[in-house]
């Protein structure tokens, strides 16, 4: 099957049931997309398929046929980081960093769809992405910054 990954043409011949996560990590060797639960419960594996955030651990290879897959490695445009990546650095969001590829990809999808989300929109969109280190407050502040929504209270 043929599809695109971070703008490049790719082909895959193996088991169509294999989750995209394991193709991306083990076969394409792009380890920015993380394995956290394998069950769609944590969001660490979030990538974009045709611009929309999906859990790569729940997306079978046969479902990406002809699609456009983007991983965290493909989010920046060349050397220009996505505004969220800059905001993440600005707010010193990451602790261990393990969840953050998924958090950024999820937030990028939210902003692509809704450039000016309310705090509630942010909460709903980000609810599926666990950060065991507990960086939620800074994630929210970073998203608000990019959205131009200063929200209410608490931004660090």
């Amino acid at each position: 099957m043929k599809f695109k990954i971070n703008g490049h043409a790719a082909t895959y011949e193996g088991d169509g049931d294999m989750p995209l996560l394991w193709y991306v990590r083990d076969i394409a060797g792009m380890t920015g997309t993380k394995f956290g639960c394998g069950e769609g419960l944590c969001g660490a594996c979030t990538v974009h398929v045709d611009g929309v955030a999906v859990r790569s651990c729940q997306t079978a290879m046969e479902d990406v046929e002809g699609r456009d897959v983007k991983t965290i490695e493909g989010l920046a445009k060349g050397d220009t980081l996505h505004a969220l990546q800059d905001a993440w650095a600005e707010h010193n969001v990451p602790q261990c960093g393990y969840c953050q590829s998924g958090q950024i990809m999820q937030a990028a999808s939210l902003l692509a769809e809704n450039p000016n989300p309310s705090d509630e929109d942010i909460d709903i969109a980000m609810e599926g992405n666990i950060c065991r280190c507990g960086t939620y407050q800074r994630i929210k502040a970073a998203i608000r910054d990019v959205a131009g929504n200063k929200g209410t209270g608490g931004a660090s």
């Binding site: 083990d26 380890t31 944590c42 393990y98 065991r132 507990g134």
Partner: protein, 756 residues
């Protein structure tokens, strides 16, 4: 300053091998230090914490691991500050496991508190040697030169030259020595005490950071294993052919059965090796492995909880005794009593454990998300027949750890399998593996009684029963150890004249491990809750009662009340104080009261709250730091609740990176929310019943609070930061719930207790 620094490069220069090595500094102070002899061919491995190239590039060897706590940013800040370094001319060298680095066990909130003096001295020595070389070259007194931002200034003329001009000459000098090291004044600090961005930031936000799960080696196989559900269980049957029939599966290998004590040994079971993780997981399903339960095969946490309460009712072993609690309770005007329960918990770091092993001939190389590369060396060696020091172990970044990754059972598995396979192997733990086979936080029952006479608390009697961490190392261990009681019970900060801490028996049936803040979790929950219960009963403000019970400003020396303590025998029963002396890190009641007063101040604790809202408070000293926490809860009619705001005040003495201290406090609040709201590991028939984040939930965005952090300013030596934020959070939450609803939570997690 008591840190002798020796210039290791001098000898190599004399040997004629130092031309490219530049300045190499070692701090041979820690007892298990072996300062390497410099050799020209391995110029970097010859250094311990700091070396400088001829072009002035400074290499900082960060021997501790990074799991989100910020040590790999904070430690370089310390050295760079004293070195007067330009941050952009530093190269960070993550260290591999080697005794020459001293203690690498990144655990117990120790990285900054144990290495602050050493790293300062290393940086200062190098700066002084560069200054001396410059003074000599310019023919002026050393007092007339000053290092600033990677240059030496001639104070007489104002001229300056880059460090690179002096490296060669400095490398030939003797290091100044312990007594001569001159540290910078606080006013001149450039990095210590100033916020600094995580050195891994760019890699993290672009997906380039390398965690243990991310290691890739040429020709590598991916392994997962089916392990016995109970500790000490064994494999009875598995279908190798079925697993081998799965496309991509390369081999099926039985792992050695566990012989107790568990320590850091692998659990046994059957591994499936494949060309990708998915194939390995499918192969494991096809195995249909069967197990025999072994000595813990009927562990049932419901039944065990009954045992714990029986043991609370039963025989008591005394650990701390001051005055006479029984008599004081007898004559009290009013007595209080409560029972508290905290279940097993799992670390559940975001990154499940993973380790990669590669044999290059007889040499073993490993990449492991471990908290201590030296303990990986020690754990792996006996299983593969090589000496610990001959195993190269690189600590990758850790996707969270919280204590789980101090136990390298998973690394041993990788090493065994790679040897067998003759190819590199990455052992991957899935989330289910992490839930089923953790080193769990213990399961605890505590009974607390107090007596009040003439308005004052005159007696506090505390009994705890829980399996000890010691059980992982010695299955005969039966109940809390003195070490664990030192984490919040034998150091109760109360002036109360009658004080007693007893324990009841409890044997371990899973591997009990240490999890972020360890026994402080349940002990501070009971203490923080019970102070609130007494305050409510007495109609007092809880913060005021804390202040009364803590009493006058003083330094507490708990050991004198510890049963069996003999000052002449420091190895006997006593008070551990997190491995620090009480002189350097006292239990200073003034500092404890100050964080409490501050949190009351910023949170407005004590004010009247609207219906359905409540505030709670608690305070606790752990890892030689002092933390107070206040939270506000909003409880709905259906019993669900949120935590809109939390306030946390930390006194960790001298701090290095205030932004990371803040981040650790914010994270500790969220970790505490997970414990209070959700955390519960249960076992039935020897098997853990939780599988993934559906059955073991942790805090998510909607659970998040807006956290306000205050760091107290003082010049005390650095205390811990990674762990001490956690203990006061859970009791602050349940105290807030009591204020909001009148319902007292004595059993964690809160779960749906408010709905009933």
């Amino acid at each position: 300053m008591n840190v002798p620094i020796k210039n290791v490069s001098r000898r190599s220069v004399l040997k004629g091998a130092g031309a490219a090595t530049g300045l190499v500094l070692a701090a041979p102070m820690i007892s298990n230090f072996v300062v390497a002899e410099a050799t020209g061919s391995h110029n970097f491995s010859s250094s311990v914490y700091l070396s400088m190239d001829m072009d002035g590039t400074a290499h900082i060897y960060i021997h501790r691991v990074e799991m989100g706590q910020g040590s790999r940013t904070g430690l370089p800040q310390i050295i760079a500050d004293e070195l007067e370094a330009d941050w952009d001319r530093l190269v960070f060298e993550p260290a591999y496991g080697d005794k020459k680095f001293g203690d690498q066990n990144t655990d117990g909130s120790t990285s900054i508190r144990k290495y602050y003096d050493i790293f300062r001295a290393a940086g200062a020595s190098a700066r002084m040697m560069l200054e001396q070389a410059a003074a000599h070259k310019w023919g002026i007194a050393v007092g007339d030169v000053e290092a600033k931002n990677h240059r030496i200034i001639n104070k007489l003329t104002g001229a300056s030259e880059d460090y690179s001009a002096f490296v060669a000459a400095a490398a030939k000098l003797e290091a100044p020595g312990a007594d001569a090291v001159k540290l910078k004044s606080k006013a001149k600090r450039t990095y210590i005490g100033k916020p600094k961005q995580n050195i891994y930031m760019q890699d993290i936000i672009t997906g380039n950071s390398q965690f243990g799960q991310d290691t890739m080696r040429e020709g590598m196989l991916f392994a997962v294993a089916a392990r016995p559900p109970s500790v000490g269980g064994t494999v009875t049957a598995f279908d190798k052919a079925a697993a081998m029939a799965v496309a991509g599966v390369v081999d099926v290998v039985e792992l050695p059965a566990l012989t107790l004590p568990a320590i850091f040994k692998p659990l046994g079971g059957v591994a499936v090796l494949a060309t990708n993780t998915w194939a390995a997981i499918k192969g494991r399903e096809a195995l249909n492995a069967q197990f025999e339960g072994g000595p813990n095969g009927d562990y049932d946490t419901k039944a065990f909880e009954k045992t714990l309460w029986q043991n609370i009712d039963g025989k008591s072993t005394p650990h701390l005794k001051r005055g006479n609690c029984a008599a004081a309770l007898e004559v009290a005007d009013k007595t209080y009593g409560a029972d508290y329960f905290v279940p097993h918990l799992n670390h559940a770091p975001m990154e499940p454990p993973a380790a990669t092993a590669e044999w290059q001939g007889d040499t073993l190389k490993m990449w492991v998300c471990c908290q201590d590369p030296q303990s990986v060396q020690g754990a792996v060696a006996p299983f593969v027949g090589v000496k610990p020091e001959d195993i190269y172990v690189e600590a990758t970044l850790l996707g969270g750890a919280f204590g789980r990754k101090s136990k390298p059972d998973f690394a041993v598995e990788a090493a065994i399998l790679a040897k067998q396979a003759g190819r590199p192997v990455k052992m991957i733990w899935t989330r289910e593996d992490d839930m089923h086979h953790g080193y769990f936080h213990t399961i605890s029952a505590q009974r607390v009684e107090a007596g009040v006479k003439d308005g004052a608390v005159t007696a506090w009697k505390h009994k705890a029963a829980y399996p000890s961490i010691s059980g992982t190392f010695n299955p005969a261990a039966d109940g809390p150890s003195g070490f664990e009681l030192s984490l919040g019970l034998t150091d109760l900060p109360f002036a109360t004249p009658n004080l007693q801490v007893d324990t009841g028996a409890a044997k371990a049936h899973v591997r009990i491990g240490w999890m972020r803040s360890v026994a402080n979790i349940h002990q501070a929950f009971a203490v923080g809750s019970f102070v609130d219960e007494i305050a409510q009963g007495e109609g007092k403000n809880t913060a005021d009662l804390w202040m009364e019970m803590i009493g006058e400003d003083r330094m507490i020396s708990p050991a004198s009340d510890v049963v069996g303590h003999d000052p002449a025998n420091p190895q006997g029963p006593g008070y551990a104080n997190y491995g620090e002396s009480l002189e350097r890190h006292p239990i200073d009641t003034a500092r404890l009261k100050a964080v409490l007063a501050k949190v009351v101040d910023i949170s407005g604790y004590g004010k009247t709250m609207p219906k359905g809202r409540g505030m709670g408070i608690s305070v606790h000293r752990s890892f030689v730091s002092f933390v107070a926490c206040a939270v506000e809860v909003a409880v709905s009619d259906d019993g669900t609740f949120t935590i809109p705001r939390a306030w946390i005040v930390v006194d960790c003495g001298t701090y290095v990176n205030p932004d990371r201290v803040k981040a650790q406090m914010e994270g500790a609040v969220l970790f505490g929310i997970s414990i209070a709201k959700y955390g519960e590991i249960t076992a039935s028939g020897g098997a853990i019943e939780q599988n993934n984040f559906d059955s073991y939930p942790v805090s998510r965005m909607s659970d998040s609070a807006d956290v306000e952090v205050v760091i107290m300013e003082n010049d005390a030596p650095p205390g811990g930061v990674g762990e001490p934020g956690v203990p006061p959070v859970a009791p602050a939450i349940t105290n807030a719930i009591f204020q909001a609803t009148g319902k007292r939570i004595r059993r964690l997690p809160i779960g749906n207790q408010l709905a009933i």
